[in-house]
C-alpha cells in the first residue's frame, strides 16, 4: 500500500508539450508511471512522447479515463489549470509550478471547497510511491519501497532525507512535498491522517521550515494521539525574521513562524525532533529498530 498514488493511478500532464513538461513526463514514464495523456490548449489531436494531446482536461478525462494530473503550466496560468482539472473531475492534482500569486491561490482554495479534488502544492516536487508511481520531478533512483512515510515543505532537503533512509536500507511508502508557498493544498495534518491509516507506513518523517503554522497544527494532531512514531526536522533556526528564505512561504513574521517555536511545539507533542539534518535517516532507523 501507499497513499494517494499507486500503480493504478492514471495520469494526465497539463503543459506536456513545454520544455519542463516534456522532460519530466519522459522521466515519469521511465519510472513506470501510467502517464496516459497530455493537455496543451490548441494542440488537441496531436501526439507528443507517443501520448495523445488534448485541448482540455475534460477531453483527456473522457477519452483516457485519467484520474490524476500534474501541472507544468507557467505561473500566470497555473491557478486556472488547477481549477480546470478540479472541474473536470480529476481526483488528485499535483501542481509543480512555482511563483503563483497568493491571491490566485485564495480563489483556487475557495473553488476547491466545492470539489472532491485533492491538491498537492503548488511549488512542490510532487509525490512518489516508490516502485509504483512517481507524479513529480524528484529523482526516482534514490527511492526504494519500504515503511517510511515522508512529508515535507521542500525539494532537495526531502531528497536528502530519502537518500539517508535508502542508504540505511529503509524504503519509503510514499514521499511528498506539500509545497513551499504560503497557501497550498494538502496540509501536514491531511497527509498525517492518510499515513495513519496506511498499513505499509510504520513511521513518518516530517520536514518543516519557518513560516506559517502548518507544523503547529501537525503538532496538535499528534498530541491528540497519533498511532505511528514521527521524526521531525525544522529548517531555518538561523533565518532572520522578516526575510523570505527562497520559498514564498518561508518567512518569520511578527505573528510567529520561528523554527524554535515549531521545534518546541512538535517536541512537546511527542515528535522525535532531530537538530542535525544529516541525521534524519538515523533517527528513523532507531525508532524502527
Amino acid at each position: 500500500m501507499s497513499i494517494l498514488v499507486g500503480a493504478a493511478t492514471r495520469v494526465v500532464v497539463q503543459g506536456l508539450t513545454g520544455r519542463e513538461g516534456t522532460f519530466h513526463a519522459q522521466s515519469m514514464l521511465e519510472y513506470g508511471t501510467a502517464v496516459l495523456a497530455g493537455v496543451t490548449p490548441g494542440k488537441g489531436g496531436t501526439r507528443h512522447l507517443g501520448l495523445p494531446v488534448f485541448d482540455t482536461v475534460a477531453d483527456a478525462v473522457r477519452s483516457e479515463g485519467v484520474d490524476a494530473s500534474i501541472i507544468f503550466v507557467p505561473a500566470a496560468a497555473a491557478a486556472d489549470a488547477i481549477m480546470e482539472a478540479a472541474e473536470a473531475g480529476i481526483g488528485l492534482i499535483v501542481c509543480i509550478t512555482e511563483g503563483i500569486p497568493a491571491l490566485d491561490m485564495v480563489k483556487v482554495k475557495a473553488f476547491l471547497r466545492e470539489k472532491t479534488a485533492r491538491l498537492i502544492g503548488p511549488n512542490t516536487p510532487g509525490i512518489i510511491s516508490p516502485g509504483l508511481a512517481k507524479i513529480g520531478i524528484m529523482p526516482g533512483p534514490i527511492h526504494k519501497p519500504g515503511p517510511v512515510g515522508i512529508i515535507s515543505r521542500s525539494g532537495t532537503l526531502t531528497y536528502e532525507a530519502v537518500h539517508q533512509l535508502t542508504r540505511l536500507g529503509l524504503g519509503q511508502s510514499t514521499a511528498l512535498g506539500i509545497g513551499g508557498d504560503p497557501i497550498v493544498g494538502l496540509s501536514f495534518v491531511d497527509v498525517l491522517g492518510l499515513f495513519a491509516s496506511d498499513p505499509q507506513t510504520r513511521a513518518v518523517a516530517l520536514i518543516g521550515e519557518i513560516g506559517g503554522s502548518a507544523e503547529e497544527h501537525a503538532a496538535a494532531l499528534i498530541r491528540a494521539g497519533y498511532p505511528k512514531p514521527v521524526v521531525g526536522y525544522i529548517a531555518g533556526l538561523t533565518a532572520p525574521p522578516g526575510r523570505r528564505m527562497g520559498h514564498a512561504g518561508a518567512i518569520i513574521s511578527a505573528a510567529g513562524g520561528t523554527a524554535s517555536g515549531k521545534i518546541a511545539c512538535l517536541e512537546e507533542a511527542g515528535v522525535h525532533m532531530v537538530r542535525n539534518p544529516a541525521r534524519i535517516g538515523e533517527a528513523v532507523a532507531l525508532l524502527l529498530a
Binding site: A76, T156, Y159, A235, G236, P240, G246, P277
Partner: protein
C-alpha cells in the same frame, strides 16, 4: 516587496483613503517650499523601509518653514537607526513633509493574508499607534480579526462590525464603512500582502485620516503590476541581493563568515543551521535553484568571493535530476575564471556523485571535498576561523 510611506499614501489615496496633504522631498530647500505651501506647521518623516522611526528621532515637527529647513538638514543624508534597521541604520534620502493633524484618537486598520484560512483578513483595533501584534497578544479583545469571504470581499455588515469595534459614531462611522471596503479592494487590485494604517487618526474635527501607511506586495504578483514594480527603491536592500535576484538566485546577506551556496531553499536553510550547529556563523542564504545551471553557479561564486566578510565557502549540492558531474564542471570553470580567494569546502551527493568528486579532485584547485554535510560544515567553520586568525 516594500514601498515607502509616501508611495503607499499616494497609492491608497487613489483608492479613496483620506491622507494628509504633503509632498516627498529630497532637499532642505524643497522641505521649506512644501512647508510654505502647506501653511507653516508641518511634520517631517524620514522615508526608510523600517518601522520604529518615531522613537528613533526620524519624525520631527516644524512650526515654520525655517524650522522645516533645520529639521530636514538634520535628517537628510544621515543614517537613522531604529529598532528594525540593525546597528548600521539606513541613510535617509527622502522625507515626507505633511500638514499636521489634530488627533482626538488613534485607531488601527490592517489588511493581511491569512495563510491557513486562504483568505484575506481585516484587522481593526480602537487602540492604534502601538505594536498591533503585541497588543493582540496582551489584550486580544482589543483586536477584531475578520476573515473575508473569498469572492465577495468585505461585506457591508463586516464593515459596520469593524466600525463599531473602532468605537466610531457619526461622521467617523460613515467614513469608516466607506473606507474599509476600499482598502480591501486596494489589497486585491495590487496583489498586496499587507496594508497597515497605524494610526488611522480620528481628528478633533471628527473625521478620519491616515497618519501613516505601510504596504507590502506579494513578489509573485509583481509580474502583473508594472506600476508597483516602478516604486522599488534600489537604495533599500543590498545591491548584491538585487543583482542576485536578477540572475535568478535567491540571496540574503547575514552577518557571519561562512558563505553558503546550496541548491534548494530548504536544504539552504538546513545548511546554514548546520554551520551554526558546528559553532560558526553563516554569511548568507544562497539558493542557486533546484536546477543549478553552470551560469548560476558562476554568479553565485562571484557573489561569495566578492564579499569581504566571507572567510570560507561551503557548497552543498544534492544532485537529483541535475547530475553532480555537471555541477562539478560548473564549479571548476567558475573557480578558474574568477580565482579562488578563500577556502572552499564542497559536499556533493546524489546522481553521478563519483564522477563529480573526481572532476573536483583532478582540477588541481584547492577544494576540500567532504561526503557528509555535517563534516563539511565543521570543516568550513574551522577553515573560516583559521582564515580569520591569519589576517
Amino acid at each position: 516587496m516594500r514601498i515607502h510611506e509616501y508611495q503607499a499614501k499616494k497609492l491608497l489615496a487613489g483608492f479613496g483613503l483620506p491622507v494628509p496633504r504633503g509632498e516627498m522631498v529630497t532637499t532642505p530647500a524643497e522641505a521649506r517650499a512644501t512647508a510654505e505651501s502647506l501653511g507653516g506647521a508641518v511634520v517631517l518623516k524620514a522615508q526608510i523601509h523600517a518601522g520604529g522611526r518615531g522613537r528613533a528621532g526620524g519624525i520631527l515637527k516644524a512650526e515654520s518653514p525655517a524650522e522645516a529647513i533645520a529639521a530636514a538638514s538634520r535628517l537628510l543624508g544621515q543614517p537613522l537607526v531604529t529598532a528594525q534597521t540593525g546597528p548600521a541604520g539606513r541613510i535617509v534620502r527622502r522625507l515626507l513633509v505633511e500638514e499636521t493633524v489634530d488627533v482626538a484618537r488613534e485607531l488601527y486598520v490592517g489588511v493581511t493574508l491569512s495563510r491557513e484560512e486562504a483568505r484575506i483578513a481585516l484587522l481593526t483595533s480602537p487602540r492604534g499607534g502601538v505594536d498591533i501584534e503585541a497588543l493582540a497578544f496582551r489584550q486580544p479583545d482589543l483586536v477584531l480579526r475578520q476573515p473575508l469571504p473569498p469572492a465577495a470581499g468585505l461585506l457591508p455588515f463586516q464593515a459596520r462590525q469593524a466600525a463599531f469595534a473602532l468605537g466610531l459614531s457619526g461622521r467617523g462611522f460613515a467614513q469608516a464603512i466607506d473606507l474599509l471596503p476600499r482598502l480591501v479592494r486596494a489589497f486585491e487590485a495590487t496583489d498586496a500582502s499587507l496594508i497597515e494604517i497605524n494610526p488611522l487618526v480620528l481628528t478633533t474635527a471628527g473625521s478620519l485620516v491616515a497618519a501613516d501607511a505601510k504596504m507590502e506586495f506579494d513578489d509573485n504578483g509583481l509580474r502583473r503590476h508594472d506600476e508597483i514594480r516602478a516604486l522599488l527603491d534600489p537604495n533599500e536592500g543590498s545591491a548584491e541581493e538585487l543583482e542576485a535576484s536578477r540572475a535568478g538566485l535567491s540571496f540574503i546577506r547575514l552577518d557571519g563568515d561562512v558563505g553558503c551556496m546550496v541548491n534548494g531553499a530548504g536544504l539552504a536553510m538546513a545548511t546554514m543551521d548546520l554551520v551554526a550547529l558546528a559553532g560558526g556563523r553563516p554569511a548568507n542564504f544562497l539558493d542557486v535553484g533546484g536546477g543549478v545551471s553552470e551560469d548560476a553557479v558562476g554568479r553565485a561564486f562571484a557573489i561569495l568571493s566578492s564579499d569581504p566578510g566571507v572567510r570560507a565557502a561551503l557548497v552543498n549540492i544534492f544532485g537529483g535530476i541535475v547530475r553532480c558531474d555537471l555541477v562539478a564542471q560548473g564549479i571548476v570553470r567558475a573557480a578558474r575564471e574568477r580565482g579562488v580567494r578563500i577556502p572552499v569546502v564542497i559536499r556533493m551527493e546524489g546522481t553521478n556523485v563519483e564522477q563529480g568528486r573526481r572532476i573536483l579532485a583532478e582540477s588541481g584547485l584547492p577544494f576540500t571535498s567532504e561526503s557528509d554535510m555535517e563534516a563539511a560544515a565543521r570543516t568550513a567553520v574551522r577553515l573560516a576561523r583559521e582564515e580569520g586568525g591569519s589576517r
